[in-house]
C-alpha cells in the first residue's frame, strides 16, 4: 500500500494523473487475466457440475427412456424407477408457495416503503429479513410440531367442511396433516423474505418525481401507489418472485419433513406427496444399487434442467415486463 502511494505523492499534478490512467502495463495485464479467470470459473464450474450429473444419470435415462419422467413407479427392490410424482410435487409445492407468498410479500413491501412510519420501518424490515436466516431444518421442526397439527385439526376441516371445499378434488380426502398443502405453506414462509426484500428495495427506488407527478394529477395515496409506483417497480418485483421460486424449487429439508413422502400423484392438496429434492435427500445415502444411484442422479439432472428452464422463462418475463413498462 505504501509503495503504491509513494509515486503519487512525489509526482504531483498532471504526471501523477497520467500514471494513474496508464498504470503499469504488466500489472494491468495480470489484473485483466486474473479477473477474466474468475469470471470464467463460474460457467466452467456450472458446466463441470452439469456434465458430472448428466453422466452419472445417463444409465437411468438410457434404461427407462422418456418413461422416467412419466412413470409413477419407484421400486428400489425391483429396480424400476419413474420420477413423475416427484416432478409434479416439486412444481405444485413451489407454485402453491408463490401463490401464498407473493401477495403477502408485496403487501409487506408496500406497507414498509409507503405507509410505515420511520421508527417502524427498520425493525419490521429487519424481522422479515430475519426469516431468511432461519435454517431450513428449524422450519421443518416447526412444521412438524406446530404447523402440521394446526393444519390437521383446524385449517383442513375448515377448508373442507366449513367452506364446503371438500367436494372439490383439490381439498378432498382424509386430513392426515403432512401434505402438499403443508409443504406449500412452509415454503411460502421461507420464500416470503426474499420476495419482500427485493420488492421493498425496488419500491424505495421509484423516483420521487414519479410519485409527485401522480399526486399533482389529483391521485389519492392509494391511486398513486397503484397507478404510478407499482407499474414502475413491476419488473423488479417479478424478479423477486423468481428469486423466491428458485429457492422453493430446491428446498429440501423442511419440505421432506412435512410433505409426507409418498410416491404418488394425488389431485388433493391434503394428500401427501414427494419432491425431487426430498427424494434425493431421503434415498441417496442408502442407495447401493448402481441403477438406483443413477436414477437419483437422473432426478437431480431433471431438477437441474427444470430450474434452468424456469429461470429462462423468468428472465424472459422480466425482460418483457420491463419493455412493456418502459415509456
Amino acid at each position: 500500500m505504501t509503495e503504491l502511494a509513494a509515486p503519487a505523492r512525489t509526482a504531483a499534478g498532471a504526471p501523477a494523473l497520467g500514471t494513474g490512467i496508464e498504470g503499469s502495463p504488466v500489472g494491468d495485464r495480470i489484473y485483466r487475466v486474473s479477473i477474466a479467470a474468475f469470471a470464467m470459473a463460474v460457467p466452467l464450474l456450472l458446466a463441470a457440475i452439469a456434465i458430472a450429473v448428466f453422466a452419472a444419470a445417463w444409465p437411468a435415462f438410457r434404461t427407462f427412456g422418456p418413461g422416467f419422467l412419466t412413470s409413477s413407479r419407484w421400486d428400489a427392490v425391483e429396480g424400476a424407477f419413474g420420477a413423475a410424482p416427484a416432478i409434479y410435487g416439486t412444481l405444485v409445492s413451489s407454485f402453491l408457495a408463490l401463490l401464498l407468498a407473493t401477495p403477502l410479500a408485496i403487501g409487506v413491501a408496500i406497507f414498509l416503503s409507503e405507509f410505515a412510519p420511520g421508527w417502524l420501518r427498520q425493525p419490521v424490515a429487519f424481522l422479515v429479513d430475519l426469516l431468511a436466516a432461519i435454517p431450513s431444518v428449524v422450519y421443518g421442526l416447526w412444521g412438524i410440531f406446530v404447523l402440521v397439527p394446526l393444519l390437521r385439526t383446524h385449517v383442513m376441516p375448515f377448508l373442507a367442511n366449513t367452506l364446503g371445499l371438500g367436494r372439490t378434488p383439490l381439498f378432498s380426502g382424509p386430513a392426515y396433516g403432512p401434505s402438499m398443502l403443508a409443504a406449500g405453506v412452509v415454503l411460502a414462509i421461507m420464500v416470503l423474505p426474499y420476495i419482500s426484500a427485493v420488492a421493498r428495495e425496488v419500491l424505495l427506488a421509484v423516483p420521487r418525481s414519479q410519485r409527485e407527478a401522480a399526486l399533482a394529477l389529483g391521485a389519492t395515496h392509494w391511486e398513486m401507489i397503484w397507478g404510478a409506483v407499482l407499474p414502475y417497480a413491476r419488473s423488479g418485483i417479478v424478479g423477486g418472485v423468481i428469486l423466491g421460486l428458485g429457492r422453493a424449487l430446491g428446498e429440501t429439508m423442511a419440505v421432506t419433513m412435512v410433505i409426507g413422502n409418498r410416491h404418488e400423484i394425488a389431485a388433493s392438496l391434503f394428500a401427501p406427496g414427494y419432491t425431487m429434492a426430498s427424494l434425493i435427500a431421503n434415498e441417496f445415502s442408502e442407495a447401493t444399487g448402481d441403477l438406483h444411484l443413477s436414477a437419483l442422479m437422473a432426478v437431480g439432472a431433471t431438477l437441474f434442467a427444470i430450474t434452468l428452464v424456469v429461470n429462462a422463462i423468468a428472465r424472459w418475463l422480466v425482460w418483457s415486463v420491463s419493455r412493456e413498462g418502459a415509456p
Binding site: V77, N282, E286
Partner: protein
C-alpha cells in the same frame, strides 16, 4: 476447536489414501503422528452411538484411535468396496453381487450388537399392549386391514375395546437398515408381502405416510391418533412409545426387550454351521421367548488385509468389543450378542490375526 477435528479428518483422508505405500514400515510414522487416527470406518447410523462409545473407551485404554463416519449402510458398503476406509458397517448383510464388486477381495461380516424394530402405535383407547401377528401386520402395511376394529385384530385382542377408526400407516421415507429389517420380517411371514413390495432398505410402500428418520416416524405417530409405525427398539425405549407385542414363530406373544432380542439371536446361533459367513437373518427366529423382528448389525472388513499393522489393530479392537463391550451396549439400549456366539466369533477372529498380530506387536 474447529481446526482440530478438521485436521484429524484431513490426516485420516491422507492415511486412507496412502495405505498401499505405507504398508511396509508404518510403525515409526504411526507414533510420530500420535494425534492422528489409526483406523477409519464408515457406515450404518443405527450403531453409531455404541461404536463411538466403544471407540472412545478403546482409545482411552489402548491409545488406538478409530474414526467412524455414520454415513449410512449403503455409503459404508460403497466406501469399503472402493477401499477408502479400513472397515465398513452395515445393518443389512452385503448381497452377493455387492461382495463380488468389492475391490479388496472377500469381505468378512462380523456381528457386533443386535437391534430390533418395535411396532409403535397411537390408539389411546387401547389399554393393554396391542397384540399382532406377522400376517396381520403385513396386511396393515399392505393396506388390506384398514380399521382398528378389524375382525382379525379383534380376534388377537379379546376383551380389548378397539377404536372404530381408520389405521394410518407411517413408515420411513429415507433408506434405512430399520426398514430393511422390518421388510425382511414381513417378507418372511407374509407371501403377499414377499411377492409385493419385497424386502429392502427402501421399498415401494402401498400405503401410508413417510417420515424421515426414527424421529420423523415417531413424531407422526405421537401426534396423530390412529397411526401405526415402526422404529428402532432403542429409540422406542428412550422415548417411551407404546409398543405392540408380536406373536413369534413358537406362537407366543412377546414384546421387544434386551432378553427377547438376545433370545432370537441365541436360537439361531445354536444351529449355526461352523463355517458360517454370519450373513444371517434372524427375523421370525425360533425359540419360545424370541422377539421376531430382530437383527444383527455388522462390521465389514476384508479377509486379506493390505496393511498388517492396521489389520492387527482392527482385529484387536473387535475382539475387545465382543469381550468387554457388553455393559456399555446395554447402558445405551443395545442388545449384546449371546455369549456362545461372541466366543465363537472371538475364535474366528483369533484365527484371522496371526499374520497380522506379529506386525501389531
Amino acid at each position: 476447536m474447529i481446526v482440530a477435528p478438521l485436521a484429524a479428518l484431513v490426516l485420516a483422508a491422507c492415511g486412507g489414501g496412502g495405505d498401499a505405500k505405507a504398508a511396509g514400515g508404518d510403525g515409526g510414522a504411526a507414533t510420530s503422528r500420535s494425534s492422528s487416527v489409526d483406523l477409519t470406518g464408515a457406515g450404518a447410523t443405527f450403531p453409531q452411538p455404541i461404536y463411538n462409545k466403544w471407540f472412545s473407551d478403546y482409545a482411552a485404554k489402548t491409545g488406538v484411535r478409530i474414526n467412524y463416519q455414520s454415513i449410512g449402510s449403503g455409503g459404508g458398503i460403497r466406501q469399503l468396496s472402493e477401499q477408502t476406509v479400513d472397515f465398513g458397517a452395515s445393518d443389512s448383510p452385503m448381497k452377493d453381487d455387492e461382495m463380488a464388486k468389492a475391490r479388496g477381495g472377500p469381505v468378512l461380516h462380523v456381528p457386533t450388537v443386535l437391534g430390533a424394530v418395535a411396532i409403535t402405535y397411537n390408539a389411546p383407547e387401547i389399554q393393554k399392549p396391542l397384540r399382532l401377528t406377522g400376517d396381520v401386520l403385513a396386511d396393515v402395511f399392505l393396506g388390506k386391514v384398514t380399521r382398528w376394529n378389524d375382525a382379525r385384530i379383534a380376534a388377537l385382542n379379546p376383551g380389548v375395546a378397539l377404536p372404530a377408526k381408520d389405521i394410518l400407516v407411517v413408515r420411513r421415507s429415507d433408506g434405512s437398515g430399520t426398514t430393511y429389517i422390518f421388510t425382511d420380517y414381513l417378507a418372511a411371514v407374509s407371501p403377499a408381502w414377499a411377492g409385493g413390495p419385497g424386502k429392502g432398505k427402501e421399498v415401494q410402500w402401498p400405503v401410508g405416510l413417510g417420515g424421515k428418520g426414527n424421529e420423523g416416524v415417531a413424531g407422526q405417530v405421537k401426534q396423530t391418533p390412529g397411526t401405526i409405525g415402526y422404529v428402532e427398539l432403542a429409540y422406542a425405549r428412550q422415548n417411551r412409545l407404546s409398543v405392540a407385542e408380536l406373536r413369534n414363530a413358537a406362537g407366543n406373544f412377546v414384546s421387544p426387550s434386551v432378553e427377547t432380542v438376545a433370545a432370537a439371536a441365541a436360537g439361531v446361533a445354536e444351529k449355526l454351521p461352523p463355517e458360517s459367513d454370519y450373513r444371517l437373518s434372524i427375523v421370525n427366529a425360533p425359540g419360545p421367548n424370541a422377539y421376531p423382528i430382530s437383527s444383527f448389525t455388522w462390521i465389514l472388513l476384508y479377509r486379506n488385509q493390505a496393511d498388517p499393522v492396521k489389520a492387527g489393530k482392527l482385529v484387536d479392537f473387535l475382539r475387545w468389543a465382543l469381550r468387554d463391550g457388553d455393559s456399555t451396549a446395554v447402558a445405551l439400549d443395545y442388545v449384546p450378542l449371546p455369549e456362545a456366539l461372541a466366543s465363537r466369533l472371538d475364535q474366528r477372529l483369533a484365527q484371522l490375526a496371526p499374520a497380522s498380530a506379529q506386525g501389531a506387536k
